[in-house]
C-alpha cells in the first residue's frame, strides 16, 4: 500500500531484479529564482524562489510573493537550473581569485547577467552584463570587467535569453502599490491606538 509520506513512496524496492530505468521525474513543482528591481535605476537583486510549473506561471506568482509590500519597478524570473554558481569564499578571500582568466578566443555567442554576493548572508545583486559562449567564459569576462578592490564572495551567471522579463506594457503592474498601506503593519500605528485607548478608559 502507498504511504501518505511521499518520501516512503520514493524509496527503491530492495533487491528486486529488473530493468535499468530512468530516474522518476519530480513529483513536485520545480523552482524559479526571483529578481527584483526596487526602484528605477537601482540594480536588480535576488529575492528568493517560487515553485511553479513553468516560467510564465513563476513570473505571475513571484509578483505577489515578493513585490506585494515594498516599492518595485521591475521583476524577472529564471529557472533555478539556469543559474550557474561560482565557488563561495569567506573572510578576505575574493572569489575572483578562484576564477580563471578569460580565454582570448571566447566567441561571445550569448549575453549573461552577472550577480555578486557582496556580503555573506545578503542577497546577490546585479553587477552587469557580459558576452561569452559559456558560464565559465562569462565569469572570466566578469573578472576582467567587474573585479575591483572590493571582496566578492560568490558570483552567479545567468544567460539573458533564459530570463522572463517584465514586458514594456507590464511596467505599470506596481502602480498602485504605494497606496496599499494596509499591507504595512507599521502604518496601522497599533501602539498609538493602544495608548489612546488606555488614556480614554483610565479617565472614564
Amino acid at each position: 500500500m502507498a504511504s501518505i509520506d511521499p518520501r516512503v513512496n520514493r524509496l527503491p524496492e530492495i533487491g528486486k531484479p529488473g530493468l535499468i530505468q530512468p530516474k522518476a521525474p519530480l513529483d513536485q513543482l520545480g523552482t524559479f529564482e526571483v529578481f527584483v528591481q526596487p526602484k528605477e535605476g537601482k540594480p536588480f537583486q535576488h529575492e528568493g524562489s517560487v515553485h511553479a510549473p513553468d516560467t510564465e506561471m513563476a513570473f505571475v506568482l513571484a509578483k505577489e510573493t515578493f513585490t506585494r509590500r515594498f516599492t518595485c519597478s521591475s521583476l524577472y524570473v529564471v529557472d533555478t537550473r539556469d543559474v550557474y554558481v561560482s565557488p563561495i569564499t569567506e573572510g578576505d578571500r575574493n572569489v575572483y581569485e578562484l576564477i580563471h582568466d578569460a580565454a582570448a578566443n571566447d566567441h561571445e555567442k550569448y549575453t549573461f547577467e552577472i550577480y555578486h554576493l557582496n556580503k555573506r548572508g545578503k542577497q546577490h545583486t546585479h553587477a552587469g552584463t557580459v558576452s561569452a559562449s559559456s558560464h565559465e567564459g562569462a565569469m572570466a569576462k566578469a573578472k576582467q570587467q567587474f573585479n575591483s578592490d572590493k571582496i566578492i564572495y560568490n558570483i552567479w551567471s545567468i544567460r539573458t535569453d533564459t530570463i522572463r522579463f517584465t514586458a514594456a506594457e507590464e511596467m505599470d503592474l506596481w502602480l498602485t502599490l504605494p497606496e496599499k498601506k494596509f499591507r504595512d503593519a507599521a502604518d496601522y500605528k497599533g501602539g498609538e491606538k493602544l495608548k489612546e485607548f488606555l488614556k480614554k478608559t483610565n479617565h472614564a
Binding site: V60, A62, L173
Partner: protein, 251 residues
C-alpha cells in the same frame, strides 16, 4: 447627468467587487500552494479596495459612508450579479469564476476609462494596472490547467459549464441603459458582453476546454435588482459580524 443611472452603475460595480473580494478572501490560508494563496489573497484585497473607491464616489453623490454601504445593507439592497455570491466550492470553480469575472471587469473598466463622468474615468485608469495582473493570472491558470491532465481539464470543463449562465448574468441590463449610453457614462452591457465573449473565446481556444454555443445558454438574472440566491445573506452576515458589534468604532 442622470444621478439615478450613475448611482445604479456605481452600486453594481462596487457590489460585484466587494462580494467577490470577500468570497476570494475565503481561500486565504487554504490555497493550493503557498505562492498561489498569496496571489489570490492579494487580488481579493485589490477588489475590496476597488469597491471602497467606488463606495467613496457614491458617498460623494450623497449616499451613506462607504463602511455603512458595505456592512449595513441587506441582501435585497445589493446589486451584485449572482455569479460573485456563489460559494467557492473547489478551486476549479473559483478559478473559472475568476477568469470569467475578471475578463469582464477589466473590459468594463477599460470602457469606463473614457467615461464622461470624470471621477469614474480617473478611477478606471488607476485600477488598470491591478486588473492587468488579475487577467494575466487568470489567463495563465486557464492555459495551464485547461490543457494539463485529464482530471484538470474535466474539472475546469464542468465548472465552466456550471458558471457560464451565471456569468452571462453579469450583463443584466440596467433600467437606465439608454441614459448611460446617451450621456457617455458607459457604453452599456451589450457592448461589454460582445467584447467579453470574444476574449473568452480567444483564451479558451488556447486550451482543451470546450465552450458551449452562446445561444443555448440562459443567463441567470436578478442580482442587479436585488433578487439574489440564498448564498448572499449568510455571506453578508459573516462579513459584517464584527462591524455590527459597534458600528461607531474607530479602527
Amino acid at each position: 447627468m442622470n444621478n439615478l443611472a450613475l448611482k445604479e452603475l456605481l452600486y453594481k460595480i462596487a457590489d460585484d467587487q466587494l462580494i467577490l473580494g470577500h468570497r476570494n478572501s475565503e481561500w486565504t490560508g487554504f490555497g493550493p500552494l503557498l505562492e498561489e494563496d498569496i496571489a489570490f489573497s492579494s487580488m481579493a484585497q485589490d477588489k475590496i479596495g476597488q469597491s471602497q473607491a467606488l463606495y467613496t464616489l457614491l458617498h460623494q453623490l450623497g449616499e451613506q459612508q462607504p463602511d455603512t454601504l458595505a456592512f449595513m445593507r441587506n441582501a435585497n439592497q445589493f446589486h451584485n450579479c449572482i455569479l460573485v455570491e456563489l460559494p467557492n466550492g473547489e478551486y476549479d470553480f473559483s478559478l473559472i469564476r475568476h477568469f470569467l469575472f475578471d475578463t469582464a471587469e477589466a473590459m468594463r473598466f477599460e470602457l469606463l476609462s473614457s467615461s464622461s463622468y470624470q471621477p469614474l474615468a480617473e478611477l478606471a485608469r488607476k485600477v488598470r494596472s491591478e486588473l492587468r495582473y488579475h487577467t494575466l493570472h487568470a489567463n495563465i491558470w486557464m492555459k495551464q490547467l485547461g490543457s494539463a491532465t485529464e482530471e484538470s481539464i474535466q474539472r475546469l470543463q464542468r465548472s465552466l459549464e456550471f458558471a457560464l449562465p451565471y456569468a452571462l448574468g453579469m450583463f443584466e441590463k440596467s433600467p437606465y441603459e439608454s441614459d448611460l449610453i446617451a450621456q457617455g457614462i458607459f457604453e452599456g452591457e451589450e457592448a461589454l458582453a460582445v467584447r467579453w465573449k470574444k476574449k473568452v473565446e480567444d483564451i479558451l481556444q488556447q486550451t482543451s476546454l470546450h465552450l458551449p454555443e452562446w445561444k443555448i445558454l440562459t443567463p441567470v438574472l436578478g442580482g442587479r435588482v436585488g433578487d439574489h440566491s440564498e448564498h448572499l445573506q449568510p455571506l453578508l452576515d459573516e462579513m459584517s459580524e464584527v462591524f455590527k458589534i459597534d458600528p461607531q468604532a474607530e479602527w
